[in-house]
């Protein structure tokens, strides 16, 4: 981690070397020096080459580059931010690419076991949402379940309380209040993903609450999390005209998630299950005709084994199975889309030559249900045949520092 002091490296180094022969890096970790103000710069990124084995086509993309900037104002208050560029280039008027603030929040340490964070932050839901650095997950792609059901990285504006329970060692909790979702932007095929505001002009007349419980014991980590929020931040007049329920939790979206992670020596396992319930999906469809499903459900399981067992190096051989249905249950006015019933088998190698660097090779097998011709409004007479299965090879790099 590169650490830059605002007051100058030389001055800071001399001060700290005088104090107990510690480097400035040590002191930042230690937080023993009461008057220090620190700014930290770090980041992560990933790039990949993808080859489609059925259509014999390849693509190469610098998927994301993220710059982290943090600052410690005093012993109790810090600032954290991540700014992301996706797909390497953003040009006006052209599709693709994105520049976004992924996180920007203030953290207030209340005591040794509790802190508040306020601003744009990522709630504790799922595994990859909070922890999405490319060196921490296998495969070049983030799990499909945590892209399409849990829409990682899912950040919203709000306030969150985080803590650990001293009387019950290993138990951590979080509770946050956030702006809600925008159901008018839901799209068939991506669940609630397009309904996120991500910090830009969010409606705050509809809100969401989310909470989690984590429990660490021995080599196991368990997590249970939930989200409940309104998705119609409209005025009463607008909501009435669309026959939607407005208000704080009007037209609600509920999400539940459970995951388990086990790491022991060279073996690791992780599994996650999640479900989304949108009880007013029929009203959303009536208002916006976006074919919103009532229930979305899915999960995955992954095992990995380190072939090297060397210090500071890893070569994980992994196998993952994912299964989800983005229209597990549709309302009366919805149209079933078999393509949204998907299964994936992903296997490959993740090589960590040193901490913070990953080189990845994986094979992805994808299977979907049949497309529904009713969803094709203007069928193209020369449309190629749809194949229910396809497979891909990915080779990529990732880093974090």
């Amino acid at each position: 981690m590169r650490i830059i002091s605002l007051s100058g490296l030389l001055i800071l180094s001399s001060q700290l070397l005088t104090a107990q022969n510690l480097s400035y890096e040590d002191s930042l970790q230690k937080r023993l020096f009461q008057d220090e103000k620190k700014t930290i710069i770090s980041g992560y990124g990933e790039a990949k080459f993808n080859y489609d084995l059925r259509y014999k086509t390849g693509t190469a993309n610098f998927t994301r580059l993220v710059v982290f900037v943090g600052h410690k104002f005093n012993e109790k208050i810090s600032f954290f931010s991540e700014t992301e560029i996706e797909d390497a280039k953003v040009e006006g008027g052209e599709p693709g690419g994105e520049i976004a603030i992924e996180q920007a929040y203030l953290k207030f340490d209340l005591n040794k076991n509790m802190y508040l964070q306020a601003g744009l932050f990522i709630p504790r839901i799922g595994i990859l949402n909070e922890n999405h650095l490319p060196t921490t997950f296998n495969g070049n792609d983030r799990t499909f379940t945590e892209q399409l059901l849990i829409p990682s990285t899912w950040r919203e504006l709000g306030v969150g309380l985080y803590g650990s329970c001293e009387k019950f060692s290993g138990l951590n909790y979080s509770l946050a209040i956030l702006n809600g979702l925008n159901s008018s932007a839901f799209e068939n095929g991506t669940g609630i993903r397009e309904g996120r505001y991500e910090g830009r002009d969010a409606t705050a007349t509809n809100l969401a609450i989310t909470g989690s419980l984590q429990y660490f014991f021995s080599d196991i980590k368990l997590q249970l999390s939930a989200y409940y929020g309104g998705s119609a931040g409209l005025s009463q007049r607008e909501a009435d005209s669309l026959q939607l329920n407005s208000g704080i939790f009007g037209t609600p979206v509920a999400l539940g998630e459970f995951n388990i992670q086990y790491n022991k020596d060279r073996f690791s396992l992780r599994a996650l299950g999640t479900a989304i319930q949108i009880p007013d999906a029929d009203k959303i469809n009536r208002a916006y005709a976006n074919n919103t499903a009532e229930t979305l459900i899915g999960g995955y399981g992954e095992i990995a084994f380190d072939l090297l067992a060397a210090k500071n190096k890893k070569l994980d051989l992994f196998l993952r199975y994912e299964n989800f249905n983005l229209n597990n249950k549709i309302p009366e006015n919805g149209i079933e889309n078999g393509l949204l019933n998907q299964q994936y088998i992903v296997t490959g190698l993740t090589f960590i030559p040193t901490g913070g660097v990953a080189i990845k090779l994986d094979y992805v097998f994808k299977k979907t249900g049949d497309p529904n011709p009713a969803l094709v409004i203007n069928p193209f007479p020369q449309a190629p045949q749809y194949y229910n299965t396809n497979s891909f090879i990915n080779i990529g790099i990732g880093y974090s520092f």
Partner: protein
């Protein structure tokens, strides 16, 4: 299969213990912990009002102790401790009881303080 999984899970649960917390003042940049406080435990959390973060003190043998700052080297979050290591609840970093990273995103080991035995006390040198 499920019976095996349940038995593994039960054996892991049996390892659940609350780690004792000992409050001690900082004097001359050191903390003194009586050796007798380790009579029936392998590790304890050392806390001082003048330190922002706790220290995990682990007994390796009658003559050797390890003192680790319970602060994640990734984003400075306080760490949670179990019998097998330390964990960051925020981003998932893991460390063994020597302070080495066993799971990223942290890439740097935990801050380790030197310790020494002196007149039936363990001295942690800050």
């Amino acid at each position: 299969m499920s019976a095996i999984a349940l038995s593994v899970f039960a054996s892991q649960l049996s390892g659940c213990k609350t780690i004792a917390i000992t409050n001690a003042p900082v004097e001359n940049n050191t903390i003194k912990i009586p050796v007798s406080s380790f009579a029936n435990k392998k590790m304890q959390i050392v806390r001082s009002t003048t330190l922002n973060d706790d220290i995990l003190l682990i007994k390796n043998s009658d003559l050797q102790y390890t003192a680790l700052l319970m602060l994640c080297t990734h984003r400075n979050n306080s760490l949670t401790v179990s019998e097998s290591g330390l964990y960051c609840s925020a981003h998932g970093s893991r460390f063994d009881l020597e302070g080495n990273v066993t799971y990223e995103p942290a890439t740097q080991p935990l801050k380790k303080f030197t310790t020494q035995l002196q007149n039936e006390f363990i001295i942690i040198n800050l």
